[in-house]
């Protein structure tokens, strides 16, 4: 039995943040119905999201929206709104990621929805909450990374701001929304109450940086400084970083410098017996030169038996060949209603020893209209 079996989620959200949350709920067993605009649907189906089109829609859309149904309806029009309200009356959860004010204008604010369904979990993601200076700004991942100073943590000192190369803030906000929804569903099982759950991408980006921001707050406001080379964390000393070898790269997380000097047979490192934080650039420079002299496997062969925390640096092609990856069974095949199949990843959570898989691919726009209208007597 999946934990969310029998729960119905009505999802108005688009792009990544909200839909990544409803994907998790779907994988945990909930029935998720995407509410989409007729003709165009979730903007993620078509707009600027990846160069790869699969079965007419972007690869990104297929990734985020498998295991869901699609109900295409214009709820800005009276008849459509009526149908939606009937559906909401039957739902356990509804969620959206419109900017503040949009649902109010449509007539689906939390207060209005409570009248239809007093026990609903109403969940919303915004870019910046309801702050007057910010609420009209686009809640877009790169803009949030840039605003919250996340871009000064990755890359080397002279690189300028470097974005994390995927939409991490969207995914964090989605993960936090999922937590709020699940916690509220739990409260409902005990107290039979609904809930309003709100998450902003701004809050999620702060939470992600809780260690570095707390450090900044408490060390007199000193800005993080990345190392000149081989940076992997602005606040950590040498050897923390990725180093080039003769045939690839090596990640090195820790190790006392004199021990490393001996294991790696690198005499220049002996000049740094205390591993001072202030000398981390110099230590990394010595290490970087030395590690280039042999291949990755050679270094791993010395360091791993000595219990030094290190690893090879892989790309997808190399990773997917590794036994350590294969045993995870992390790739699954899903099939759309029209028979189109594609490979994608699965839910990262295991419960009672079982992985969650589902063979249901993403829905074509409005593919479930007929069933839903009939089933819910809309």
């Amino acid at each position: 039995m999946k934990p969310l079996e029998d729960y119905l989620v009505i999802d108005f959200s688009q792009f990544l943040s909200g839909p990544s949350a409803s994907l998790r709920l779907a994988d945990l067993g909930a029935r998720v119905i995407k509410i989409e605009k007729p003709d165009t649907g979730d903007i993620c189906r078509t707009l600027y999201t990846s160069d790869l089109i699969m079965n007419g829609e972007s690869s990104v859309f297929h990734t985020i929206n498998r295991n869901k149904e699609s109900f295409a309806i214009d709820f800005k029009e009276a008849d459509g709104l009526l149908k939606i309200k009937k559906l909401i009356a039957k739902a356990d959860v509804m969620m959206h990621n419109f900017r503040p004010g949009v649902m109010e204008r449509i007539g689906l604010s939390y207060e209005e929805v409570l009248e239809i369904n007093p026990k609903i979990i109403y969940a919303a993601i915004s870019g910046y909450g309801n702050h007057p200076d910010l609420k009209s700004l686009p809640g877009q991942d790169l803009l949030l990374q840039s605003m919250t100073a996340l871009t000064w943590l990755t890359g080397n000192q002279e690189d300028g701001p470097v974005a994390m190369g995927l939409s991490i803030v969207d995914m964090l906000a989605g993960a936090h929304l999922t937590q709020g929804i699940l916690a509220s569903l739990y409260r409902k099982t005990i107290h039979n109450t609904g809930a309003l759950v709100e998450v902003s991408m701004l809050d999620s980006a702060f939470d992600f940086q809780f260690e570095t921001i707390t450090t900044y707050f408490n060390d007199g406001g000193e800005l993080p400084v990345r190392t000149k080379n081989n940076n992997a964390h602005a606040y950590l000393g040498a050897p923390y970083g990725i180093y080039q070898t003769q045939n690839g790269y090596l990640a090195l997380a820790m190790g006392s410098i004199p021990v490393l000097a001996e294991l790696l047979q690198c005499n220049e490192l002996l000049a740094f017996p205390e591993n001072k934080f202030s000398l981390r650039d110099e230590i990394k420079t010595v290490l970087a030169q030395h590690l280039q002299t042999q291949n990755t496997e050679y270094w791993l062969g010395i360091l791993e038996p000595a219990d030094i925390w290190c690893a090879n640096v892989l790309n997808y092609e190399q990773l997917f060949e590794e036994e350590g990856f294969k045993v995870l069974e992390f790739i699954q095949n899903v099939t759309m209603q029209d028979g189109y199949s594609y490979a994608t990843t699965r839910c990262p959570i295991k419960i009672d020893g079982k992985i969650f898989t589902s063979s249901k691919g993403s829905p074509k726009l409005g593919q479930d209209n007929e069933t839903i209208i009939k089933e819910f007597a809309l």
Binding site: G165, L182, Y186, V199, I213, A253, A311
Partner: protein, 381 residues
Amino acid sequence: MKPLEGLVVLEFCQFLAGPSAGLKLADLGARVIKIERPVKGEACRQLSIKDLFVDDSSLLFHTINRNKESFAADLKNSDDLALVKKLIGKADIMTHNFRPGVMEKIGLAFDDVKTINSKIIYGVVTGYGEKGPWAGKPGQDLLVQSLSGLTWLSGKKSQPPVPFGLAVADLMCGNHFTQGILAALLKRAKTGKGVFVEVSLLESILDVQFEIITTYLNNEKKLPERGAIQGSAHTLLSAPYGIYKTQQGYIALAMGDLQHIGKIIGVDLDQFQDKALWFSSRDTIRQILVDQLLSNTADNWIELLNKNGIWCGKVMNYNELGNQKFVRDLQLKQTVRNTDNIALTTTRSPIQLDGKLLLHSKAAPKVGEDNQKIHQSFLND
């Protein structure tokens, strides 16, 4: 009332992934008790950044472990172990991140614990799952990032692999762990039985890459390629997506209509009418933008672009961010205090419930600070 009020969590986890989940559960209302070695306590207490300590424990530990209690017990001592087992009998959830085999040796594996408490939710965090050749490897963030392919997504094409500058595998795994535990509570509510929850750093960091991995798998295994121009920000996205240097400061440009953007900032992009070129020629296009955007300041560009509805924003650092009025208005900081009345400023839960922030002024505990209280509430019968 907070949703998890009345629930008791025993946290055997150390460092970041597991304890970050404990913090989320605490902020949602659970009573989270860290089970720690006497005297020295959890290993993270001694792990500092910039040598910052508060009350003998690192600031890092304080950040991750506010709003929790501490019960000091030596699991290798039979009297202490008996107390811990009694405590488990009263708990709803327990979590650990020991390497495979450790809890079995102590006698606190899920099968053992079920005989004490048939309704327990038992959560485990590993580095790479419990089987296969990597199961015994150190579950450390940078190593997991490096093995997972993530390091080929940031920075530009000519650069070596660039890791994310934060413990992203730990933190996402902590988020997934929280989700798994909460889902387990729902399952338990239906079945009345204990639930076993597992997450791993590797699976979590692969989940973060779900869009890029899916694209790779369905694109004739073409590896993701970073843009060639400084400021490239996403392997899947076309121009103008990225960060740009200006005469003064940096700006970020998200997805948008290139013809429109070209007209606004004064460059001729007529030869890129075909949208397919926005991806295939993204380096050429971004170089044109790089050259033009250097000719004015970030503030001026943002004013101009915003006025025309283009998705853009300023790149700030912690000083600039900290000075923003919204940081205070939105209460993005909170102050916590320990039992000695030492205060420190940190962040808060990102989840709002019923229109309220989940705030709590309790700082991280000292090792064993709550032994007496816990004895009284759970162990005196």
